[in-house]
Symmetry: none
Subunit: 520 residues, 2 copies
């Protein structure tokens, strides 16, 4: 693998423009770390000029040391008819103190005259001035030529002039954008090839999925000479989304033998996708290429047969390469091979064909039918296995609890309180707590009661709390799944609870968390 392709991830910028996406600052920091760990070249973190949230985020980023990725701040060319220095968006880009700046500018004449309403010439100056400004400040500058392909198709000379004014100003890379996502693969190929012939600078490609071809268009761009690919990691973005990097990276690295990320990270492509979808609170599309839970799921009888004989008979790659798993639907063969490592962790003498394995599989199927899902909640699953193998008995019992929410006028004061009774070796402890919600009150009362017997629980605190409504169409009577992440400062573990009652679901996850801590 000689040739390197620079991967430019815009999950936090273009991705944040996807419907339903709303990242907190801590969400963004988690995603930055995940992408840096995977080893993408650039992480476009946001537009510091656009809103307060992003400013706060860039401040936080200054204190963070990344392994491989460069943080990119994104912004527009200077506004028309003012100097670069006068433009506050430009100055806030500087204040972000990132090594790299991405500047987008117009390259479609129609957008210049009809949307930003300025002269074709002024737009070229805006591009040139802005890039010159940042190059003088010693920044690496990437120029995103917005609507380049539509622009080239309507007025090639002007579209190329826009690129030229960026290159003349010293842009380190020019990125050809199919902003509306309407361009076809063959056009992308021919136009990108033309640009690569004309300019002696790195050429990048930025595609949208409005015709369902963003991945293929990016691939055709690379075939035509692009060495920098922009997208979002699991494909979300404006309208139909951006080119999906979790598909493009393995397409380039495994099929075209071009290097995008450190090869040892390829096996983390799937886990990174699932982590980012979790943080984004978007269910990962089941059939998403390479990373989806169903990407290597075989259902048709002949397919299952074929894969059993030779996996490449119905698989274009082996799922393990990208850290995904093969599944045979409606067949426990898959179940066993997935669960066995976890069982062996508890009892290494148990084999694939031991009766215990089958009974655990059956229990797992039953629990999954109830709405449990142990991927990402291994602590709870380990407890299930230990209990089934009679290797664990809970040292405490929650005898009963009661939560009360009392509210005066909406928005006014309210109190939530919880009364709980636990039993440890026949000793009872009854106590109560208040909190800013019933779940919070319950958590506090449960810990307060158990700390009487287990002072070590004082070290434990919760670091994450997630709720997913399962059968949403049943509205407020739907089942909810609660995932709780706990830590004692040394170890971190995740537990799960499912119920139609969010309070009970939370208690089940809290109980597992405490049992797991006491077991260690």
């Amino acid at each position: 693998m000689n040739k390197n392709i620079k991967i430019f991830d815009s999950t936090l910028r273009d991705g944040a423009q996807g419907e339903g996406i709303s990242f907190s600052v801590s969400d963004k920091l988690k995603i930055v770390k995940a992408l840096d760990n995977l080893g993408v070249t650039y992480i476009e973190a946001g537009n510091p000029g656009s809103n307060i949230k992003d400013l706060e985020f860039f401040e936080k980023l200054k204190s963070i040391k990344l392994e491989t990725s460069k943080i990119v701040a994104f912004g527009s060319t200077r506004r028309k008819n003012i100097s670069t220095q006068e433009d506050t968006n430009i100055t806030s880009l500087l204040e972000a103190e990132t090594p790299t700046i991405a500047i987008f500018g117009k390259s479609w004449d129609f957008h210049v005259t009809d949307i930003i309403k300025t002269s074709l010439n002024e737009n070229l100056k805006m591009i040139n001035d802005t890039i010159t400004f940042f190059k003088e400040k010693g920044k690496e500058v990437i120029f995103d030529a917005e609507h380049f392909f539509d622009g080239y198709k309507s007025n090639p000379d002007y579209a190329l002039k826009a690129l030229a004014s960026a290159v003349d100003a010293g842009a380190d890379a020019i990125v050809l954008c199919d902003t509306n996502g309407g361009v076809f693969p063959q056009e992308i190929y021919e136009i990108t090839q033309k640009v690569c012939e004309l300019f002696n600078v790195e050429v990048g490609i930025h595609c949208h999925n409005d015709c369902g071809m963003a991945v293929a268009n990016s691939i055709m761009g690379v075939k035509a000479g692009a060495v920098h690919v922009q997208g979002t990691y699991i494909g979300f973005g404006e309208r139909c989304g951006n080119a999906n990097l979790s598909t493009i990276i393995p397409n380039l690295q495994l099929k075209m033998k071009l290097s995008c990320i450190p090869h040892k990270q390829v096996k983390n492509i799937t886990s990174t996708a699932r982590y980012i979808s979790e943080i984004s609170n978007l269910k990962l599309i089941n059939g998403m290429p390479y990373v989806g839970n169903g990407a290597f799921a075989h259902k048709g009888g002949m397919h299952v047969d074929g894969v059993a004989k030779a996996s490449h008979s119905f698989e274009h790659i082996s799922p393990e390469i990208v850290g995904n798993k093969r599944r045979f639907l409606m067949s426990e063969v898959s179940g066993k091979s997935t669960v066995l490592p976890l069982i062996k962790k508890v009892d290494s003498t148990i084999s694939k064909n031991s009766p215990e394995t089958q009974s655990i599989i059956d229990k797992l199927k039953e629990l999954e039918h109830m709405g449990y899902q142990y991927e990402g909640a291994e602590a709870s699953f380990e407890l299930v296995i230990r209990k089934l193998l009679n290797k664990y008995v809970s040292p405490f019992k929650i005898d009963s609890f009661k939560t009360i929410g009392e509210h005066s006028i909406i928005g006014g004061n309210f109190t939530a309180s919880s009364i709980i009774k636990v039993i440890v070796d026949k000793k009872e402890e009854i106590t109560a707590e208040q909190g800013n919600g019933p779940v919070n009150a319950l958590n506090k009362s449960l810990k307060k009661a158990l700390e009487v017997f287990y002072p070590e629980l004082k070290e434990v605190h919760l670091t994450d709390y997630k709720v997913r409504v399962l059968d949403a169409e049943n509205a407020t009577s739907a089942k909810v799944r609660v995932l709780i992440e706990s830590t004692d400062g040394k170890k971190t573990w995740t537990t799960i609870g499912v119920s139609t009652d969010i309070i009970e679901a939370s208690l089940l996850a809290l109980k597992d968390s405490i049992e797991y801590k006491l077991m260690m």
Copy 2:
């Protein structure tokens, strides 16, 4: 539009091999009618040899008169080393009494020798005998060359021999399948072009999405000369799914000016996708090209601004053409132009520069900072605007409420109840309800109390309930955002509530939902 492309829909056959898909006979009949109404050329209905459900379905189909589409029965070449007449799968294909039969056979030498384990020569005979048999019965026969592209890449001579034995037997069309979904667009183009040169018969293309390029590969196949495109209507199928016809049809018909369906039906492309996803019980992917609910949703301020000036500035086609709708999403990245249409809906005299507009924007930013997010919760946002403009006062007041959750041993019985007091024109109503969780109990008690004054609320029920934990790292004391979708059978609306207390957050969303209904 001279050239016609034949669309071959396999939703009921290859699509049924997708994870989570299980059609009843009546589901299948509904989908057949929907596809016939849209006007696809072929509807592959299933494999009559494979299971009883399909046999019953083909029986029912005999009594149904279709407008435009032809029903296709799907099956394999005869089994090795027996005569065609002896093969019960072949005879059951005849019993289906369809005008058209699709026969799949092996064209990858490795599959012949290692999977079905017969001689390369016997496989060619199997193809030839089977097609000859059905041609003698007067059927239209389509030959699906399974794994053709992988086969061609490993042994081009043999792959072409497989096609030749189908053509010699009188096949009406030969379909080149990328069964594993691992082939790239340029390869598809070159190999399909080669086949079109060699054979004087209709050539078709059948792609899978394992590299995220099924749509582009199908398009490249057509560019190379294919005149028949196979896929599933909304893309589901084995593993990562089949080529998505709801994307391919508009790509071909609107962009490449090739005729796939009657032009007057193009406006039904979106409704057909939503209907099929309903019947399949799969949520349509929000960003699905052309047909997704978010396919023309604009969020970024500059995008919204641009579309307001000229829709093609950020849309590759007008959504109405395919029967979809443009949407402007509320968010901190959106500006005045997003909010203005909603404000004008309430008061048409207000303009972009009216002070009211700015104060609404400020309120929006403040609410979003608190954790509100109005994209997809337009009903709540309309209430915010009306209240700010003093155009709406809630007709009822929730004076107070109390929720009680009482639980005995975990997993055992528990009761959740709610007591509520509402006031309408100085009249009080106090009532209580029980539910399978505190939110459910609260919802029931609130409706029960208000239905005394507003019987029309009996029509309202909730169709969706979503919970998102905002600052998850604050664990059980985190803020939660609740989204509730309600319907009265005619209209559907979504409302939002945010609080650290999930019960209060739910109540705020429920209150908005009821206020919105009463306002209409």
